[in-house]
């Protein structure tokens, strides 16, 4: 594992209060890896905070949304020839302590993507009814399409290998990309695995998905998943 080039990608939009802490924690638990913060057109000091904490920072000229921001990170990883990329959210919800779990599973089980799931095994994850319901629906739909049980398709805490970096660098969904990207990977015959993780409460900032928006997103993403099943894709 030591000779593989690993990049931790942290998408951040107006997260000046937490992005520095996340970068420092990742450094603490994984001393060798490179850390890239993708600043998605933040209006606060996210970029400065991230630079001060020692991360490499990609500044997007305007807000592209989580999908566009993550894809920028994957493009960077692809250009720079990284073997593994790990997504860790900039709001501090993902515990960097758990990254090694993702990495080990990716290595040992020959998976193409490993997702940190909040619903596998023991977890004290709490959230609103609405969100739980949304995740439940996505979980059912994605599981049917993939022919494999996926408990947490909306999780953004994930590690991917070189093959998937290549795919994501040229194909990545826009607004609410996690569930849709799994359907995409299924089309490219990738191995998807889940490991149980614990998720923390948010350090700072506000979740990008509010109540009314979440209904809109659910319909939109379900539609996108449906369309994806018929779309032609190429690298």
């Amino acid at each position: 594992m030591d000779f593989k080039k690993v990049l931790v990608i942290i998408p951040a939009y107006n997260e000046e209060g937490s992005v520095g802490k996340v970068v420092e924690e990742v450094k603490k638990f994984l001393p060798g890896v490179d850390i890239l913060v993708v600043n998605d057109g933040s209006k606060d000091l996210t970029s400065e905070e991230a630079k001060a904490s020692g991360a490499v920072v990609l500044d997007l000229p305007f807000n592209l949304g989580i999908g566009g921001a993550m894809q920028t990170g994957y493009k960077y990883a692809f250009i720079k020839g990284y073997d593994i990329a790990i997504q860790v959210d900039g709001d501090g919800q993902h515990d960097p302590k758990e990254i090694s779990k993702l990495l080990n599973t990716l290595e040992r089980n020959n998976a193409d993507i490993v997702i940190g799931s909040r619903f596998l095994g023991v977890s004290d994850f709490k959230s609103s009814m609405m969100r739980r319901f949304g995740i439940f629906i996505f979980s059912k739909v994605i599981s049917i399409i993939l022919g494999q049980k996926i408990t947490d398709p909306t999780s953004g805490f994930r590690a991917i290998n070189k093959k998937v970096i290549h795919i994501f660098a040229s194909n990545y969904p826009q607004d609410y990309p996690e569930p849709e990207s799994l359907v995409l990977l299924h089309k490219f015959k990738c191995n998807v695995l889940e490991v149980p993780i614990n998720m923390r409460q948010r350090n700072a900032g506000e979740s990008s998905i509010t109540k009314i928006k979440s209904i809109y997103y659910m319909v939109k993403v379900l539609l996108a998943i449906f369309v994806d099943c018929f779309k032609e894709r190429s690298l």
Binding site: L58, L60, L64, T72
Partner: protein
């Protein structure tokens, strides 16, 4: 009644055509999009020249639609085509826009690291 509608449609199509030409001349509308508009204007203009033939005989004969409903139908179809065309153009543009922003961010990062490298090597040699 018919002559009034004829004049109205004729004048409107001429205004549409003149406006389109003016936009192209000033470079505010690309030729690619203007073709649809010119086409629309011309068709309406031609209809206004022989409304009796088109609205009461030709169009009802091929479509079964009569007179005013035929005018509305044609206008609606053209608008639908134009709007669909715009959706396609906007989709393409937003995709290209995203692609550009991403490349710009990566290039800026690379440029800055090269700049820093140049600065340190200059200081070393000085």
């Amino acid at each position: 009644m018919l002559i009034k509608v004829q004049i109205l449609i004729g004048v409107m199509s001429i205004i549409l055509l003149l406006f389109t030409f003016e936009l192209i001349r000033k470079g505010r509308l690309r030729e690619e999009y203007s073709i649809l508009w010119i086409f629309t204007g011309l068709i309406i203009f031609i209809i206004s020249l022989w409304p009796e033939f088109f609205l009461s005989r030709f169009i009802p004969k091929i479509t079964g639609l009569f007179y005013l409903s035929a005018v509305v139908m044609i206008a609606f179809l053209f608008l639908l085509l134009i709007v669909l065309h715009f959706s396609i153009v906007i989709s393409r543009l937003s995709h290209q826009n995203k692609e550009l922003a991403q490349r710009y961010a990566i290039l800026e990062l690379e440029l800055n690291s090269i700049k820093r490298l140049c600065n340190t090597s200059q200081k070393m040699s000085a």
